[in-house]
């Protein structure tokens, strides 16, 4: 007698599985569209190892569908970004120096189908965040080359209320969490006005950069989404950069010529972000390959080892 409820429970959950999976995908789809259709304002916190900060957000979608958003850090330096639709209108000083051409970014919005190739999506329950009811989605990686994510979506609007980044041991690497969210209050023109420290972003004439480097190995699901070249932060060398994306996680590869300077390999981890530098010998002299991204250290290491020059064959 005792096992009958168990069986019916198992059977029930098995029958319900496709429906649950569809519902989870539906929530993810609603999340992808939420920011384009809802105005809101609120306060959120961001926490990673060694850093905790609080931020305000004003997000307005007007009748014509134009999205205007202002983000402002509330503690410490007033980091600020104002975005209109797909481009940054102004950015505060220290954030600005690395942006370059704001138009050059191919839009990588949340693509549900793409995500599902690399992550297993499940609904794992309900929660309460910022005083609001939320549904909890888990995106578990299908391999060891990326981290898992737990998303708490607002029951009413599907906006992201909380996001946790977890490694393979279930340890928390990063937390993003709203402490207050107002859906009703439309941000005023004044609230969307950038502060004095926010510098206008002007589109620079970025020359088309030839692909000079590629990776012989990539974690499954990651594809090249951008190639760029920029002057080194410490010298006059040009540094090539490649950006890869799997629908959720992102990593960058930087290649900087060493010109005979002796530098050792290095690896470090800053909260969720791993950084691995490895020296690569080429016919043109040694270069330093640096992989930076929200991926496990071992994966970053393997990518760094797999970078090769396209024109000049690596000498090794």
């Amino acid at each position: 007698m005792r096992f009958i409820p168990v069986i019916s429970l198992l059977l029930g959950s098995w029958l319900a599985l496709p429906a649950v999976a569809a519902e989870a995908q539906d929530w993810l789809q609603r999340l992808a569209e939420a920011g384009r259709s809802r105005s809101f304002q609120g306060v959120f916190v961001y926490e990673r190892n060694g850093s905790f900060s609080t931020h305000s957000i004003w997000h307005r979608v007007d009748e014509a569908g134009v999205v205007r958003e202002r983000l402002l850090q509330l503690d410490g330096p007033a980091q600020e970004v104002v975005r209109v639709d797909d481009r940054a209108e102004c950015v505060s000083g220290s954030l600005a120096d690395q942006i370059g051409d704001p138009q050059a970014w191919s839009a990588h919005g949340l693509s549900v189908q793409r995500l599902l190739e690399s992550y297993d999506l499940r609904m794992i329950g309900n929660s309460r965040v910022a005083g609001r009811s939320a549904v909890v989605l888990a995106l578990s990686p299908r391999d060891q080359h990326r981290y898992g994510v737990e998303l708490h979506l607002d029951q009413e609007s599907a906006l992201l209320l909380k996001s946790l980044l977890l490694n393979d041991k279930g340890q928390l690497l990063e937390r993003f969490q709203f402490t207050r969210l107002d859906l009703g209050a439309l941000p005023t023109e004044q609230e969307l006005q950038p502060g004095a420290g926010c510098q206008p972003v002007t589109a620079s004439k970025a020359a088309k950069v030839a692909e000079a480097w590629r990776s012989e190995w990539l974690p499954p699901g990651f594809t090249l989404s951008r190639v760029a070249e920029r002057r080194s932060p410490a010298s006059n060398e040009q540094v090539a950069s490649l950006v890869y994306f799997d629908g959720l996680a992102r990593f960058s590869v930087f290649v900087e010529p060493l010109r005979g300077v002796m530098v050792e390999d290095a690896r470090s981890q800053l909260g969720p972000t791993a950084a691995v530098s490895r020296r690569l010998a080429t016919a043109d002299g040694d270069v330093m390959v640096t992989v930076v991204g929200e991926i496990p250290l071992g994966t970053a290491e393997r990518i760094a080892l797999s970078i090769r020059g396209i024109e000049m064959q690596a000498v090794q």
């Binding site: 992808a32 920011g35 959120f44 961001y46 990673r48 190892n49 060694g50 850093s51 905790f52 900060s53 931020h55 957000i57 958003e69 330096p77 980091q79 975005r83 639709d85 797909d86 940054a88 954030l95 690395q98 942006i99 970014w105 839009a107 329950g125 929660s127 992201l160 996001s163 946790l164 490694n167 279930g170 690497l173 990063e174 993003f176 920029r230 080194s232 932060p233 410490a234 950069s241 992102r250 960058s252 930087f254 300077v261 002796m262 530098v263 050792e264 290095a266 690896r267 470090s268 981890q269 800053l270 909260g271 969720p272 972000t273 950084a275 530098s277 330093m288 640096t290 930076v292 250290l297």
Partner: protein, 197 residues
């Protein structure tokens, strides 16, 4: 130091209300015969008040201060030799107290979670320290040296090569996503956290 202040301190020690300075004051004066006599009188008075039987000749003060002196002396010597370590020691004490307090809070929270939020028991993992992490820090507190400590490199050949570049690489990586309005505010927060130094 006035006799009166000393006796006040002694009283505070007895009532378990002494701060660190008062305790030190009493300990440093523990060889003082008059103070010991006062201590004994206090003990008797206290025993009478609490209706306890006490052997007045049992010099608790001497025993306690002897025990404490054994511990206190090496600390003082070290403090004299290496000034900064004295401060570190104090931080260590303060930190262990904080940890105990936090642990208490955490246990309390876990209890609450267990009873009211069974559905999401494991939904509140503590922020963990991944491999090769920088020094743990309190909220809102940062030091100039953190970047170097976090981005620890074994570079001996050309020291500082990575230090000069890695922060910019990290920043550049983080900011790519900030520019994209399709993203949530998370990449922006990630990028901003790199500037909080």
């Amino acid at each position: 130091m006035s006799r009166e202040a000393l006796q006040e301190s002694l009283s505070a020690v007895m009532d378990n209300e002494a701060d660190e300075m008062e305790l030190r004051r009493v300990l440093s004066a523990s060889d003082d015969a008059e103070l010991r006599a006062t201590w004994s009188r206090y003990q008797i008075a206290r025993a009478v008040m609490h209706k306890e039987l006490l052997e007045p000749r049992l010099d608790i003060a001497a025993a306690v201060s002897a025990a404490l002196a054994d511990e206190a002396l090496p600390v003082q010597n070290r403090a004299a030799a290496h000034g900064p370590w004295r401060t570190v020691g104090r931080f260590a004490v303060a930190a262990s107290v904080t940890v105990a307090v936090l642990a208490g809070v955490r246990l309390y929270n876990q209890d609450e979670v267990a009873s009211t939020q069974l559905a999401q028991q494991a939904a509140q993992p503590a922020l963990s320290a991944p491999q090769a992490q920088g020094p743990a820090m309190l909220a809102g507190f940062s030091t100039a040296g953190e970047q170097q400590a976090a981005a620890e490199t074994a570079s001996e050949a050309t020291p500082g090569w990575h230090d000069q570049r890695l922060p910019a690489y990290l920043r550049q990586h983080a900011q790519q996503a900030v520019m994209n309005a399709n993203e949530s505010a998370l990449p922006y927060a990630r990028a901003a956290s790199l500037e909080n130094r």
